[in-house]
C-alpha cells in the first residue's frame, strides 16, 4: 500500500478533527476533535515509521503521543468538569468571560 494513501487518510482525519474543533459548541466534542487530530498525526508517524525499520522511531513516537493524549484527555476533562460546575454549561459560545 503506497504511503500517499496513508498520508491522505491522515490529512482527511486531521481536517475532520479541525472542523470538529472549530465548529462544535460542546467542549467535550471539541476534545473529541482534538483526539481525532492527534490520531491523524499518529497515522502520519506510523506511515513514515515504515521507512525506518531498524529503530521504528515513528511507532515509538506514536506511542508517546497516545500516552500524552491520554494525559491530556484526563487534564482537559477535569477542566471541562470544573468549567461546567462553574458556568452551569459546557457550551463554548456561552463561555466568553475573556471578551475584551
Amino acid at each position: 500500500m503506497p504511503v500517499e494513501h496513508l498520508l491522505f487518510l491522515g490529512a482527511v482525519l486531521f481536517c475532520i478533527g479541525l472542523f470538529v474543533v472549530l465548529t462544535r459548541k460542546n467542549a467535550i466534542a471539541v476534545l473529541i476533535g482534538v483526539e481525532l487530530m492527534l490520531n491523524a498525526s499518529n497515522i502520519n508517524l506510523v506511515a513514515f515509521g515504515h521507512f525506518d525499520p531498524d529503530f521504528l522511531q515513528g511507532q515509538i513516537f506514536a506511542l508517546f503521543v497516545i500516552t500524552v493524549a491520554a494525559a491530556e484527555a484526563a487534564v482537559a476533562l477535569a477542566i471541562v468538569v470544573k468549567v461546567y460546575q462553574y458556568f452551569q454549561t459546557a457550551d463554548l459560545d456561552k463561555i466568553s468571560e475573556l471578551k475584551g
Binding site: L22, T23, V30, L92, D93, I95, S96, K99, G100
Partner: protein, 713 residues
Amino acid sequence: MTELNDFLTPTAFNPLIYWVLALFALPLLSFFTSGLFKGKAPVWSGFLLAVNTCLSVYLALQHWGLEPGVVIKGTWFETGSTAFTYSFLLDNPALIMLVIVNFISLLVHIFSAEYMRHDKAKPRYYAYLGLFTFSMLGIVLFHNLLFIFIFWELVGLSSYLLIGFWFEKKSASLAANKAFIMNRIGDLGFLTGLMILYTQFETLDLGALKLLMGDSRIEDGNWVINYLKNGEEVIHSLDGRWLSAAGIALFCGAVGKSAQFPLQVWLPDAMEGPTPVSALIHAATMVAAGVFMLSRVFVLLDAQALEVVAIVGAITALMAAVAALSQFDIKKVLAYSTVSQLGYMVLAMGVGAYDAGLFHLFTHAFFKAGLFLSAGVIIHQLHKLETDEVKFNTQDMRVMGGLRTYMPVTFFCFLFCSLSLAGLPAFSGFLSKEAILINTHAWSVEKGGGYYLIELMAFATVILTAFYIMRAVMLVFTGKFRLPELKGTPEIVGKLKEGNMTLLIPVVILAVLSFSFVFGASISAEDSWLYQSVRTPRDTWVPKEYIAMSQAEMLAKAGTHHTWLEVLSVGLALAGIVIAILIYKPGAKLAEGFDGKREPVSPIVQVSFYHWYQDVLYTKVILKFILTQSKMLAWFDEKILDGCVNLLARTQVVVAHLTGMFDRYIIDGFVHLTAFTSGKVGQLTRSIQTGNVQTYILSAIAMLIMLLLWFAF
C-alpha cells in the same frame, strides 16, 4: 593721652547703691501696688512716699557738702568693644532735688487724699503719682545722659497720663496729647544733642564727657578730640559749629520739658489735670527736669549756646508774664506764672548763673506748690457748693471774691506764696530772683549794646509778676463773694467753709517754706546756705575759643551795683503790687464789674488773653499746613500709589487669566488628545478579544497557514 575706658571703669562697691535703689524702689512699688489697695491707696502710697522722704533727708544729711559729690559707676552691658555704663552722682544739687521731689510729692499725696476723695479712679491716680516721682528721681540721680533721657521720657509719659487723668473729658485728653507732642518736639532736639556728643566722644557718661570736653580743642575751626580707646588712638574731628549745635540741641530738650518759648503752649493747657498734679508738675517734677538737666550739662555749653538759652529764657519770662495779666482762670494765672518763672531760671543758666538758676528752682518749687495747693483748696471747697441746679466753673475768678472771710488760712498761705513769687524781701522768692537779676545785669554790662534788652525784659517781668499775682489775690480774696449774685442763690454763702486739715497742713507747710528765713537770715542771697551749696562750676570745660565768660569775672566787673539793683527790683515789685491793689480794690471800677467781664475785645488785651496768639498761630498755620500736607499725601497715597499697586495687581490678574486659558486649552488639549487616541486604539484592539476560544484557534490556524504559504513561496 587719656584712655576712654579709664573714665568708664566701674567704681568699687559702695553700699550707698542700696540706698539709691531703695529710693527708686519705693515710688515704683507704689506705682505697681496702689491698685491692690483700692480705697486705702492714699494711705499706702503716702506711707511709701513718707519713707522715701525720710530716706532722702537722711541721705542728704549724710552726704551734704561733699565736693564734687559721690559717684557710683557700673557697666550696664557691653556690645563688642563698646561698653554702656550707668552712673549716679550724689552732689548737693542732686541731694536737694531729691529732698524737694520726695517732699513735695509727699505733700501732694497727702493733699490728694482729700482732694480726690470721691474719685473712683483713686488707685490709678496714686499709681501715676508713684510713677511720676520714680521717673523724676531717675533724672535727679543718674549722671549719664542716656539714662537721663530714658527717665526724661518716663517723666513725659507720666505727665501725659496725669494731665489726661480725667480722659473722659475731651479737653483733658487733648491737653495730654498736646503736652506729649510738644515734649516730643523738644526731645528730638535732646536726642540730636546726645547723638552729636556720642559721635564725638563715644560715651554719654556726664563725668567722662566733662573731662573729654576739657581735652578737646579747636584746630583750624574744627572741634578735635583724640584719646585712646582700648589702647588704640582715636581721633574725632567735627566742624566747630557742632559744639554750639550740641549745646543748643540739648537745650531744646529743656525747651520742651521746662515749657520755654516756642514750645511753652502745653503748660497752660496742662491745667486740665487734677490741681494737686499741677502742683507736682509745676513745682518739683516735670518742668524742674528741664532746668535741672541744663544744670547737669552746664559745663558742656559754649558761649553761643548759653546766649541762645539766655535769650529764650528772657522772652519766655516776659511773654508768659504778659499772658498772666488778663486770665480769668486762677489756674491759668498760676500756669503762666510758672512759665514765666521757668524763663527766669533758664535765663539764669544762660547768663552763666548756674547757682542762681538752681536756687530759684528750689525756692520756686515751694512757693509755687503752695500757690497751686491753695488754689486747690479753693477749687475743692467751691466744688462742694455745686448742686444739680447750680453749675459753675470752679476755677473761674469771676465767681470768687471775698473768700478771705470764709477761708482765712488759705488766704494767708496764698498771700505769702504770692509775695514770695512777687519777690518781696523776707520771702524766699526775693533771694533767688535778686540773684538772677544781679547776674543778668552783670551779663548785660559785659555784653553791652542790645543785650541790655534782656535785662530790661527781666526787670519788666518783675513788675508784671507782682501785678498779676496781686490781681489774683485781690480778685479771689477781697470784695464780696460774686457767685451768689451771679447765680441768684444767696443761701449758698453760708455753705462755703475753710478746707479741712488734710488740705491745709500741706499748704501751711509750703507757705512757711516760702519765707526767706528758712534759707538764710540775711536779705542777701549770697548769705543763704542753700545758695552757697550750689556753687557754679568754676571752670567751664569747652575749648577756650568757644568758652563763655565766667560768672565770677562778670560779677567782679559789675559788682558795685548791687544795692540799686535790689532797690530797683523791690521798687518794681511794690509798684506792681500797689497798682494791682488800686485797680482791683473793693469798690474800684474793674473789681466791681469783674463778674460780668467777657473775653476781651481790645486787641492789646487780647494779645495777653490769648497768649500772643501763639496757639492760634500753631493751629491756623502750622497745624493747617501739616493737615493740608497730610491730605495731599493721603491723596497721593490713595490715588497714585494705590493706583499703581492696583494696576499692577490687575495686570497680574489678566496675565494669570491668559496663562490659565493657555493651560486649559492648549496643554490640557494635548493631554486629552493623547488620552482620546489611546482610547480609540484600545477600542479597536479589544474587538479582537472575543472571549470565544474557537475564534482564537481559527485565527491561529489562519496565521499558521499564512506562515506556511509564506515559507512555501
